[in-house]
């Protein structure tokens, strides 16, 4: 529990420090840290997001977590390799956009709010809220969805 709080604080601090650089359209933050594997095909991560309102911040955090899982991989976990090998080819795919625009909720098993605090963006002074969550994602279901929609290949060549 202490470790979780510490990582939450670290994430909040790093997210706060880097706000001025993450406002480009279509970019997602990298404040995603592997926590545990609660079961086969599942992954729990801590992620942070920012938005005018709490709900938008949650969306930002979840989209960041999913973007990292899909295109960057989560270091230290079994999902250290990105699920989608070619980011440039797939990031504008309709199904990927659907997931990042809110469709991710179908693959989130559990989402707990760890902390929230009001923040002001360095770049434009916009006020908002920074939230940090622990999120358990069903990687197996996500992979299956991507396979079904031909975003990634099934096992084999």
């Amino acid at each position: 529990m202490n470790k979780l709080l510490l990582s939450c604080c670290l994430l909040l601090a790093s997210a706060h420090m880097a706000f001025g650089q993450k406002d480009l359209p279509g970019q997602y933050n990298g404040y995603v840290k592997y926590e545990s594997t609660p079961g086969l095909g599942l992954i729990t991560v801590t992620c942070s997001g920012f938005g005018k309102k709490k709900q938008q911040s949650l969306k930002d955090a979840a989209a960041g977590a999913f973007y990292n899982l899909l295109f960057r991989g989560i270091p230290g976990s079994q999902q250290e390799l990105p699920m989608i090998p070619d980011e440039n080819e797939a990031k504008n795919n309709r199904h990927v956009r659907d997931i990042l625009d809110g469709g991710y909720s179908a693959f989130v098993i559990e989402n707990n709010l760890l902390g929230e605090e009001p923040r002001k963006k360095k770049k434009d002074g916009a006020k908002g809220v920074l939230t940090t969550h622990t999120m358990t994602i069903s990687c197996e279901a996500l992979r299956h969805y991507l396979e079904q929609n031909n975003v990634i290949r099934k096992f084999g060549y």
Binding site: T37, S77, Q78, Q79, K154, F155, G156, Y157
Partner: protein, 302 residues
Amino acid sequence: MKHQLFDCLLFFACTLLYVAPLSVIGQPDGQIKPKIMVIPKIKEGESLKSVYDSNTNVRMALAKINEAFLKKGANLISFDAKLKEAKQNTMIGKSSGNQSDYKSTVLQMSGSDIYVEADINVVKHGQTSASSVSVILEAYQTGTSNFLGVKEGRSRITRTDDIGFLTAQAMDSITDGFLNLMQLKFDDINKNGQSVYVQFSLSDNSRYTFDTEVGKPATMLSELIEEWFRKNALHGVYNNQGVTEKVMIISDVRIPLKNPANPQSNYTGQQLFSDIYKYFKSQGLQIKRDIGTNNKMLITIL
């Protein structure tokens, strides 16, 4: 009468609407599922069969990785079944004195494209009576021995004698990652072609060596073969490992997954041999195939 005709048409339309999507779902996606066999890793002097039969942990690790492959819809070959088959095979009986021969013969007999070796080590932690298990999984292509991936997993250090439980824990920590790593290699194969090992040798009473000049214009046999691979390997990728008067080894030639002449069908080792055969025939040479799997081909020039 009109009503009957209308009912008939309605029924026909409904049937079409119901069946059409099914036929789309039922179509194969054209993806190739390689045949995979999981075997225990043996040390020098150990027997593949006795390690498998006597060690429950080995069997458990193999079952775990088999389970993970099955969940992915992989095309699995049962090592247990192949061992039983091998026992009845007289050819195996002859080579059973040599364990590495035994392993390669079992692999060859299995017809697998890929094999995964599972190495299991039980570690006892001093006087605490605690134990842990480490598992190393290594994947290779059967014919070429090309390396496809490796993962090492460890269980927690626990005070228990239930080594099977620890083995399962170690396996659970790596199976997903291992399969993801393999898929990365599969994607590469899909893009850059399948690897095949091709070895040419001469029959005892052959009138050729690899330095003999054949064809018109007269070209050294080895050069003629290399020329063919240069033209026919996918993206021109092949590796001529070496040539002597009597043997020529193309240790890795990339072939397409789909037949260029008919993209609906797979291009297999059999088709590669058939193409090589036609080429040799056109040069007035006769060949025979000693071993021909999807990844390994031993060809003798008569």
